[in-house]
Amino acid sequence: MKTSGSDRIMNTVIYGALALLSFVSLYPFWNAFVISLNEGTNTSLGGLTFWPRQLTFDNYEVILNDNRFFKATFVSVIRTVAGTASAIFLTALFAYGLSKKGVIGHKWYMLLAIFTMYFQGGLIPTYLWFRELGLFNNIWVLFVPWMISVWNMIVFRTFFKGIPEGLEESAKIDGCTNYGLFFRIIVPLSGPVIATLSLFQAVFFWNEWFHSGIYINDAALLPVQNYLVNMINSNSAQEMISQLGNVPGGAGDVVSRSITPKSLQMTALIVVSLPIIMVYPFVQKFFVKGVLIGSMKE
């Protein structure tokens, strides 16, 4: 391999651009992390970039001790765990049934499912229907509309169809039922695809804020993303700080003077992103594969 002058220039440009892009991808998180570790009033002096100037854990103390934050995180954890488990189970079962040969109505079931990828009732008709179903301020609205993802169904189905039939046949001869086949043969063979789709589904449930925002008013049922919405867009951070100062003689009185809405916002934001940032590098190699299975169907 010869390295010519133009080759070297091209390499420099490409490596430089990619390094810059990587830096830009990470910097906003890092800067928010630094702000969350820095004393609030000191942050508002400006100039904070890569390292905290006045290290403190006060911001974390306030956020982690906030009762509403705790409750909202609890709702989100339940939503993510229960929602992901049930959605993946129902969707995989649905896909397995549709991957079988000779199922009566197979063509209609597929048509019914795929049509919804191109056309939906839209925001308002769905809203009015959910109101009639009594889903307003109802914990179920956090889960049930997303039990079946047609996209995930297609990915599962494509994967299941690739599993050699011989494996199922021998188990069938041993008197295994279809549910037995699903749990004992199919699920153990589908580790990577289940892991990938579970990750995507979990990220969806953890991140979803729009629907929970329009269907839920009751603060006790609001997920943590909606807690963040209130914190970023309204003065709820300011209220939190003034409440801290109201505890007479408490440590909060001293703390509240050095805490700003921005430092609290960045802290809450980091805490909410943390589960994703920590899990994601470990599942990265799975999801690249999962994305590919999904796109083969296109």
């Binding site: 080759d7 091209m10 490409i14 490596y15 990619l18 892009l21 990587s22 830009v24 990470l26 906003p28 998180f29 800067n31 928010a32 942050t43 002096l45 904070l48 129902l90 649905f94 049934g97 549709l98 079988k100 199922v103 009566i104 019914l112 919804t116 191109y118 056309f119 939906q120 009732g121 839209g122 925001l123 308002i124 008709p125 769905t126 009015l128 229907w129 079946i148 047609v150 549910y179 699903f182 991140n207 804020w209 729009f210 329009i214 993303q225 963040l228 919405v229 970023i232 867009n233 921005k262 916002q265 934001l269 909410v272 992103s273 994601y280 590098p281 994305v291 590919l292 796109s295 296109e298």
Partner: protein, 318 residues
């Protein structure tokens, strides 16, 4: 006659019989079908409200028919020009900047021979995809803030500006901020698919090109791009079919749920307009009509783009 009836009866009986025989498999499918019917198909009936005047006490069925009144109201509305203009501007910016950017990134990543470096770049650029738009908006507000924002700090250091600028209070900067955030969030993740397509290119094609004296850039244009063109075409068709869905969560997150009065004239697109008019002002029928208007145009665009792709001889959706 009697015979025909008997045969028919026998057929239905056997179909029922066969259905009963596979009840196990059917019982796997029916919960899924039920969820799709309840949460996707029943709401579709609500679309008829676009041709009615929804009365909250009468319900969907008994509300009076008004024909095309809601559509006429939209076409005569003073909001029409603003909403359509914003939708088209944002859609075009996304189509010409956010759509091709991951292709360029994938081509660049493919030129990297240093595997560890490539892996780090991928890990870091995929990350923002997994973060909600709410968190992204929080990060954007922080980076852009007047007193302690990093962008103002950088521009001041470089001597481009003297004083901190409150970027989000100027409507003229909104599109730049929106597009940059969208690019930041999705460029890495969207590149996965193109990168996979590039890996699938036959190595012999590159060798043949080398023998013909092609340089690296020449190979990208003569070998790589033509081979991944079918993948690009498919995603282009899907993008065009979604053109009028110019933005929703991103815009709501950046404009405080559409309540930012300074940015309203540049940020209100069809989807956010449906949301504001429908849910905040409770003009349900009107909002459904506007939403239907968009959906119909999107389907026409999808159909048209697909037809064009087929005519040109490339890949297509159907």
């Amino acid at each position: 006659m009697k015979q025909a009836g008997a045969v028919k009866g026998k057929q239905t009986e056997s179909a029922l019989h066969r259905f009963a025989a596979q009840w196990e498999v059917q019982s796997m499918i029916w919960p899924g079908i039920l969820f799709i019917l309840v949460f996707s198909y029943v709401p579709m009936w609500g679309i008829i409200l676009a041709f009615k005047e929804y009365d909250i006490f009468e319900g969907v069925w008994k509300s009076p028919w008004v024909g095309g009144k809601q559509f006429r109201l939209f076409f005569e509305s003073p909001d029409l020009v603003m909403v359509i203009r914003n939708t088209i501007v944002i859609a075009m910016l996304k189509l010409f900047i956010i759509f091709p950017a991951p292709i360029v990134l994938a081509l660049m990543l493919n030129e990297v021979k240093h595997m560890a470096f490539k892996r780090i770049v991928q890990t870091l650029t995929y990350l923002p995809h997994f973060i909600s738009w709410i968190i992204v908006s929080g990060l954007v507000f922080s980076i852009l803030s007047v007193d302690s924002g990093s962008l103002n700090l950088l521009l001041q250091k470089l001597g481009i500006i003297d004083q901190g600028v409150n970027w989000l209070s100027f409507p003229e900067y909104f599109y730049g901020i929106l597009i940059t955030s969208g690019l930041w969030k999705e460029i890495g993740f969207s590149s996965i698919i193109y990168l996979a397509a590039i890996v699938g290119v036959n190595p012999h094609l590159y060798e043949a090109a080398s023998i013909d004296g092609a340089g690296r850039i020449r190979k990208i244009f003569s070998v790589t791009l033509p081979t991944i063109a079918p993948v690009i075409t498919i995603f282009l068709i899907l993008n065009i079919g979604n053109l009028l869905s110019a933005g929703f969560e991103d815009i709501l997150a950046m404009t405080n749920n559409g309540n930012n009065a300074i940015l309203r004239n540049v940020s209100q697109v069809i989807d956010t307009y449906v949301y504001t008019i429908g849910l905040n002002q409770q003009r349900y029928s009107y909002a459904i009509a506007v939403g239907l208007f968009k959906a119909v145009i999107n389907i026409m665009l999808l159909w048209g783009a697909n037809k064009l792709a087929r005519k040109v001889g490339g890949s297509s959706l159907w």
